[in-house]
């Protein structure tokens, strides 16, 4: 069964099978040395740029800003959730997320 993944409303949210699942304005803890020099990036998610899937893992690239140091930019692919049996489960929002590729 294919999963429909989309960035909609100018990057405001990620749609999974026509339902709004992941949204902007959250703070994510990232291990993203490319984005800023903080040990962990404290990223406010401003815009989703793209969404994809790698196996069962849904990944996104987002534009945002590290609120600890002010660096802004677009991330690499970051996991946001898993699709199992057609259902999407978001990763724990407080978990550290690692750029995968």
């Amino acid at each position: 069964m294919t999963t429909r993944l989309r960035v909609l409303d100018d990057g405001a949210w990620i749609s999974v099978n026509d339902a709004r699942k992941v949204r902007v304005s959250e703070l994510w803890r990232l291990d993203a040395p490319d984005l800023c020099e903080c040990e962990l990036t404290d990223l406010v998610v401003e815009n989703f740029q793209s969404v994809g899937v790698d196996g069962s893992t849904v990944e996104v690239r987002v534009y945002g800003q590290c609120i600890a140091c002010g660096a802004a930019g677009t991330t690499g692919w970051i996991p946001v959730g898993r699709v199992r049996g057609g259902e999407f489960a978001e990763l724990d929002r407080s978990a550290v997320r690692r750029v995968r590729r």
Binding site: R4, R6, L8, A12, S25, I67
Partner: protein, 585 residues
């Protein structure tokens, strides 16, 4: 590869959306097939319906496009009645109540909490009264803006209203121009005050004189590719074209067709014409327009009146249209301040009655989210100004009330990062009570946008506020970036972002400190904008100085994680669910 949105648009777009919209309305929200929801919500925008943010599933923002902000006699009453009857949802706003209308920065009207099942009845009532939501959102010709008092303004060079009406007639529901790569925002101004804000639109017509057969003729110069969104603000660029009023539709249609054919449909972030103008340069835009889209020789630009512009310039006369002003027919127009553009339905109805009693019944909306009652004769003026409603919607407001503009924010908008309208009301009230502007400064514009889309046009204000987050004592809180010194005029300037991530409760203190430094350090008679211009970013950052005061902010937390920030039980789990749907969502 074309985007999903482009694919949906190529399947069904434009006028034909309406039939399906009505079927869904009749059969209920749940009749929209599960796997077609994204597509239909995207298409509904073309008919002015924007799905509200998550937690508010099944409720829509409805935008009514009023060209140039003109509401003909009787139309405001219709808007008030619709707001009163249909714009009531499960959440009550603590400042504005249960039913209200928003006057927007593009001279339109927005209603919230609209249910799909009510849409046919609302459309019927709107259309019976000459109003429409068509193309109020979506990838097409949006509401055309301009000087709202076109045709009446004593300062007018040319009456732009017939031109705007004509463009509106031609390009609303026009199949050749209904599916553009992105929104298309047009401004047509006929007055010498710059109140059409052409510089921040995709396409601007501004008054200009040109010698034709030995005679000075008034027409318009053309600029293309302005816009504020997405950290990529651009001023519209001069393409060196003057056009007579009769030929405006040919040039406007030519440019919209050029955008249709050459705009980027692969990447929505790169689609606005401002990026095409970046890539091509104004010369190539002109050449392509000449060679492929018009069948007459384009004239080069005429003599403009930009140096007379005052609107939103931060100095001089008439920075807005609030207050009593002369019409050219001897009557008056009276601009009333509507704080953050929001007015309760009962007040909308009262205002409609007052406009009919003292004026012609006509009301107009400005790009500073205010309303203007036109056609008030001299002998009715005093009595009109003494009406109790005008104590609240004042023609002589405090500068902090007058200068406030705010977007929709986390209350309803998916993109937002912070609460906006109610916060700006709290800010304005606090500033009015606690801060005095220096002698002779009676305008001070503060614009608050909840994200970089910039719906509140923050970059053209004295103080620009934009939604962000920060940590305070380790906890995440809503914050604002602070920009200074923006404004329009002959030499428009976008605000410089000098201070980042100020916790929202420290923003009023920061503005108070800024004003204090301005008062202490300004040169004799200097405007705030000029003051900002002669300081560097570090100096300005030091003036801003965030500080806690007795201002308290009840919305410091992540208001986006609520289903409605002002609900008693505000958690996402407590969301009411789709109206009329047994299972909720």
């Amino acid at each position: 590869m074309p985007t999903d949105v482009e694919n949906w648009k190529s399947e069904v777009y434009g006028s034909e959306i309406r039939d399906r919209l009505f079927e869904f309305a009749e059969q209920g929200f749940d009749s929209i097939p599960d796997d077609e929801r994204d597509a239909w919500f995207e298409r509904f925008k073309w008919w002015g319906l924007y799905h509200q943010r998550n937690g508010q599933e099944g409720y829509f923002m409805m935008r009514i496009g009023t060209p140039n902000g003109v509401l003909e006699p009787g139309q405001l009453r219709v808007v008030g009645e619709i707001a009163d009857e249909y714009a009531r949802g499960p959440g009550t706003n603590p400042i504005f109540g249960d039913a209200y209308a928003d006057f927007t920065t593009r001279q339109s009207i927005q209603l919230h909490w609209i249910e799909l099942s009510d849409v046919p009845a609302i459309f019927e009532k709107l259309e019976e009264n000459g109003l429409s939501t068509q193309q109020a959102c979506g990838d097409s010709w949006r509401n055309i803006v301009g000087n709202p008092v076109a045709g009446k303004d004593g300062q007018e060079v040319i009456d732009a209203w017939p031109v705007i009406s004509d463009l509106n007639e031609r390009f609303k529901g026009n199949d050749d121009h209904s599916n553009l790569p992105r929104k298309w925002k047009v401004s047509v101004t006929g007055s010498a005050d710059g109140s059409g804000q052409g510089d921040i639109n995709d396409l601007a017509f501004e008054p200009a004189y040109r010698e034709v057969d030995g005679e000075d003729v008034v027409g318009f110069n053309v600029r293309v590719g302005g816009g504020l969104s997405r950290n990529e603000p651009r001023l519209a660029r001069d393409i060196d074209v003057w056009v007579s009023p009769e030929r405006v539709p040919d040039v406007a249609g030519g440019l919209s067709a050029l955008f249709r054919d050459y705009g980027d449909r692969e990447d929505r972030y790169n689609a606005r014409i401002k990026f095409l103008v970046d890539e091509w340069g104004p010369e190539k835009v002109r050449e392509t327009l000449q060679e492929e889209y018009v069948d007459f020789e384009l004239e080069s630009a005429g003599r403009d009146v930009r140096e007379e512009y005052t609107y939103n310039t931060g100095a001089g006369e008439r920075n807005d249209l609030v207050g009593v002003h002369d019409q050219k027919d001897g009557a008056n127009f009276v601009g009333l301040n509507v704080l953050v553009g929001r007015m309760g339905a009962a007040d909308v109805l009262d205002l409609a009655d007052l406009a009919a009693e003292y004026g012609s019944g006509e009301v107009r909306i400005s790009q500073r989210q205010n309303v203007i009652v036109t056609d008030v004769p001299d002998d009715a003026l005093d009595e009109f100004l003494a009406e109790p409603l005008l104590e609240h919607y004042s023609p002589e407001p405090s500068p902090f009330m007058r200068g406030s503009v705010a977007c929709t924010g986390t209350e309803f908008c998916s993109l937002s990062i912070v609460e906006t309208k109610n916060r700006q009301v709290r800010f304005a009230r606090w500033l009015k009570a606690n801060v005095d502007l220096p002698e002779g400064v009676d305008e001070f514009h503060i614009h608050l946008s909840g994200c970089t889309a910039s719906c509140a046009q923050p970059q053209i204000a004295d103080v620009s506020l934009r939604g962000m987050k920060t940590r305070k004592d380790g906890d995440p809180v809503e914050a604002l970036d602070v920009g200074l010194g923006g404004g329009l005029g002959d030499e428009p300037q976008f605000a410089r972002w000098v201070t980042q991530r100020v916790p929202v409760d420290e923003v009023p203190g920061a503005i108070a400190n800024l004003v204090e430094s301005f008062a202490a350090e300004r040169d004799e008679g200097e405007s705030f904008r000029a003051f900002v211009a002669r300081h560097d970013d570090d100096e300005l950052d030091a003036f801003v100085e965030p500080e806690e005061t007795d201002y308290e902010d009840p919305m410091m937390h992540n208001t986006k994680r609520t289903w409605y920030p002002y609900a008693e039980e505000d958690a996402m789990e407590d969301a009411p669910g789709v109206p009329g749907s047994p299972a909720g969502d």
